[in-house]
């Protein structure tokens, strides 16, 4: 059946089983491959996207549950890597393999929306569910602090 979703400001009609996880609609139907499949069980955070600015795990979000909420993926965070977090991620040289980083950045972006100057504890709490196999955690924290204009 046809489902209507708004991704990065663009409306799409997708013809798909309604219980399909949003992750597969983004990656396979819309070819937005910046959002990654990590565990498929909501345990790793690699598939993090925004629904109306809130961070959610796309692998645990049936597309039928999205409704009229606006979806933002890493591709929609900015058009030119100009989001303060993207700049900070480059400045702090955060990614190694990079696979988890779309999810990390989307999780951090939701944090900065709710807490523009987060404390170290707030950062750690918010980022706790995003796993990085390369263990770039220290740099992730520094990049968030840089983007927020707060010192360590």
């Amino acid at each position: 059946m046809s489902t209507s979703i708004v991704v990065n400001g663009v409306s799409h009609e997708v013809n798909i089983v309604p219980s399909t996880p949003l992750l597969w609609v983004l990656r396979d139907t819309l070819n937005l491959t910046g959002t990654k499949y990590g565990c498929g069980m909501g345990l790793c955070g690699a598939c993090t996207v925004h629904l109306d600015g809130q961070a959610v795990r796309a692998c645990q979000t049936p597309v039928e549950s999205v409704g009229t909420k606006k979806i933002t993926t890493i591709e929609g965070l900015s058009h030119d890597r100009s989001h303060p977090l993207q700049k900070a991620w480059i400045a702090e040289q955060v990614p190694q393999c990079g696979y988890c980083q779309s999810g990390q950045i989307m999780q951090a972006a939701a944090l900065l929306t709710s807490h523009s100057r987060p404390t170290r504890e707030q950062i750690d709490d918010a980022m706790n569910g995003n796993i990085c196999r390369c263990a770039t955690y220290q740099r992730i924290r520094r990049a968030i602090q840089r983007a927020a204009g707060v010192t360590a």
Partner: protein
């Protein structure tokens, strides 16, 4: 090794200079049998590309490879393009990453390849100007005639340089480490920008026309045997 670059593998269209040399370990292989390696491409529009064997997986070899080439070839490192070497096993022997070997393995290869290109470009410029090659030097992507200050960029020398013999990799002069501009200094990794906007392509992101997807169905216990099997479509119909 006495050979002109007539057997170069030009991957892209247009006039391009591919620098290659037989691996010393393969006993100065006969160039007539295409025993060449090729790591440097210079197009006539002055685009310089390093072809690298070690895939970038976040370990930084892409950046390191660019530094090695730019060091010997006297280039602005940020102008060098990087390309994964194609799967041509007779040329590229180490299309892998593992054991922290990428930088060590590419170190002699890419420095010599860069030095060969530099020497050929120097010779081509000296010949064009009718001057002694000793009066010329390479700097910032160009050959300069030191006494007069005349200057020609690499891309404008490619047509002449490809006709010259490729210097012996065992004797091509390498830079003295005390003159290194780049190597030994921390630089920003070139693979990172694509990893902050979702544009970096990982294995899972590759799409081919008509591509099918599969996963391994693992048994729930040891020595399990398959008794029935349905295609996904059959399962969907049954459901």
């Amino acid at each position: 090794m006495k050979s002109t670059v007539t057997r170069r593998e030009v991957v892209e269209t247009g006039i391009a200079l591919m620098i290659g040399f037989a691996l010393p370990l393969r006993g100065k292989g006969d160039p007539e049998k295409n025993e060449f390696n090729a790591w440097v491409r210079i197009s006539s529009n002055n685009q310089i590309t390093v072809l690298a064997e070690t895939p970038e997986m976040g370990q930084g070899t892409r950046t390191a490879n660019i530094m090695m080439l730019a060091e010997e070839l006297e280039l602005d490192w940020s102008s060098v393009h990087w390309e994964q070497a194609p799967t041509i096993p007779r040329i590229y022997k180490d299309l892998l990453a593992g054991g922290s070997s990428g930088t060590i393995h590419t170190w002699p290869t890419l420095r010599k390849a860069g030095a060969q290109a530099r020497e050929m470009l120097l010779a081509a410029a000296a010949h064009r100007w009718g001057v002694d090659v000793q009066q010329c030097h390479a700097t910032d992507g160009a050959i300069v005639h030191t006494p007069s200050g005349r200057r020609v960029v690499y891309g404008d020398l490619v047509r002449d340089a490809v006709r010259l013999p490729v210097p012996d990799p065992d004797h091509v002069p390498l830079k003295d480490p005390k003159n290194f501009r780049l190597i030994g200094k921390p630089l920003q990794r070139v693979d990172i920008p694509d990893k902050v906007d979702g544009s970096a392509v990982f294995g899972l992101d590759v799409r081919r026309p008509g591509m099918l997807y599969a996963v391994i169905a693992r048994p729930p216990h040891l020595e399990a045997r398959r008794c029935t099997w349905m295609t996904p479509m059959q399962k969907l119909v049954q459901a």
